[in-house]
Symmetry: T
Subunit: 66 residues, 12 copies
């Protein structure tokens, strides 16, 4: 039967939460193959000079173990 | 006094979480009248070829019972 | 040692969750200085005529106490 | 073996949380038979002119499937 | 220093959640002394003939250990 | 777009949870205008001489920022 | 884009949690097509004469909306 | 009105989670009468020599107070 | 197979959370044998004259049933 | 003092949740030594042709760092 | 009846979590009177050069409203 | 934009929770560079001969991916 692992990764973006997820997944893809899904675990961000500076999304990425 | 029901529905979008919510609400609107609010319950998505393939948002939609 | 306070604020936007967060932070910035980060606590929204009317995001904003 | 379904319904009352539960269950009873139990999921309410205007209770109602 | 224990007890009432809590605390008082506080853990109830039959409240009761 | 703040307040009552919520909201209303909704966060209480002494309800009160 | 709905259903079994899930899904399948996945929400059961009488599993079943 | 108590007990089994629940309930039955239901609180287990050694299930057992 | 019970106990200390745990476990040890592990459930404390007066830790203590 | 790491892994089985845990642990054992315990984090599964197709269990596996 | 408010504050310390709580409470005491209790909400910290740099504790502080 | 990973690690100490966190972070630092923060996930410990034997803290450690 299939087995999957999950790792936790935090992406950041100046634009949106969706963009931050894409950044996280793209980075994870540099060292992982067979990524299959992600789950949003936490959404936060930093503030600078009274404005949102970036969006930070923690995702769990699931990938198939060969 | 007013009574509401809630149903749970999952919308998907290639673009963003907000878009996925709109898709879910629009679909729910085909069979429900008097929808009043939504609550985001879960955010996840699928990955294909090392990139985010779609965003999936589970929302609870509340609507008034006549 | 540094001390921070957190307040809870709800921003709304017709466009997206990210936009609603920016609205909340900008409003908080009118009365607070030294804001440092935000945490998303809840995401919901209103529906009107069968369509998403606005996105509502509750954020906790952390700021340094001088 | 027995099978049950659960639906989620929100009752409101000017008086109390218990009353709001009764309203929710009575409404559910118009279209469901064999209701067996309820679980309180959320308690909130609206405020008007500086006073509690109503109590809102979300309950999950379980009923037997024949 | 003071030490407390907590036990978990379920009270039921035909009338309200508050009443069910009183029933649970009164029962606990038959075998415990020095009860100090309670915490509501869960609220549910049974339904009979399409109406709320009773309210059930699970409380954790804290009492001082002599 | 509209912005809301939330504060957390604890009301107490000898009678019921609903009463405790009313006490909390009435108190909050002394210093806040435009209160719009409340959310129940926690329910507990104190015990004295083996009987419930009071009901304590923590509510988050949301109010519009002008 | 694809849209899914979720319903909540409770299966029971004298044998195991896995069996109770199968019962719930089989029952749901009588009225739903295109069921795609389930999520376990709660596991409990009844006791009779000092022994486990049955296993009860609440699952959320997701199915595609055509 | 009826009053119930809950205790928390951990059963272990070499075979399955269901078996571990049965072990826990059977043990509880040695000192308790009128047990009525159980709720699964936690599932874990130990590993030995790279294989699952046992399944451990924490259940809350509810029993009627006479 | 082994069976364990868990009880919930609150220790207090003027010094630290770790100290409060030790106080709780030591107290539990007066009436229990074969205690095996503890789990921190809640951390709070009282304040007096603007300073922390004590640290209160609720722990669940697991012990083997013979 | 001893230090442990935890990884998250998803096992699948056609038969039961217990079997899916065994599959996950066995797979983890191919690359890890000194595995000591597992914690069940999530239970779900897929449905095909109106029947449960497989059981999926996410476990956190703890192992000693040498 | 008595009414309390809660605010959320983050204390930091180079030494321990207990110390960080004291820092938070002491700071809160500069602007609040009648503080009565605190609840630990979150524990985290920063790392610098491979070592724990500080402990950060978020506490909710409850104080009586006169 | 910056990307972070999080791993989960359990430190143990005979002395305190803070010490256990330091142990965990120090161990993680042997194989990771650019560690930036930690989050406390769970606090438990073992008991031996009726006394706390050690404190165990599970932390998530975040580190920058280069």
């Amino acid at each position: 039967m299939a087995v999957y692992k999950k790792i936790e990764i935090v992406g950041t973006s100046k634009v949106s939460f969706a963009e931050a997820v894409k950044v996280a997944v793209a980075e994870a893809g540099k060292s992982l193959r067979h990524m299959s899904w992600f789950e949003v675990v936490e959404q936060r961000g930093s503030i600078k000079d009274g404005k949102v500076d970036d969006f930070q999304v923690t995702v769990r990425v699931g990938f198939k173990v060969e």
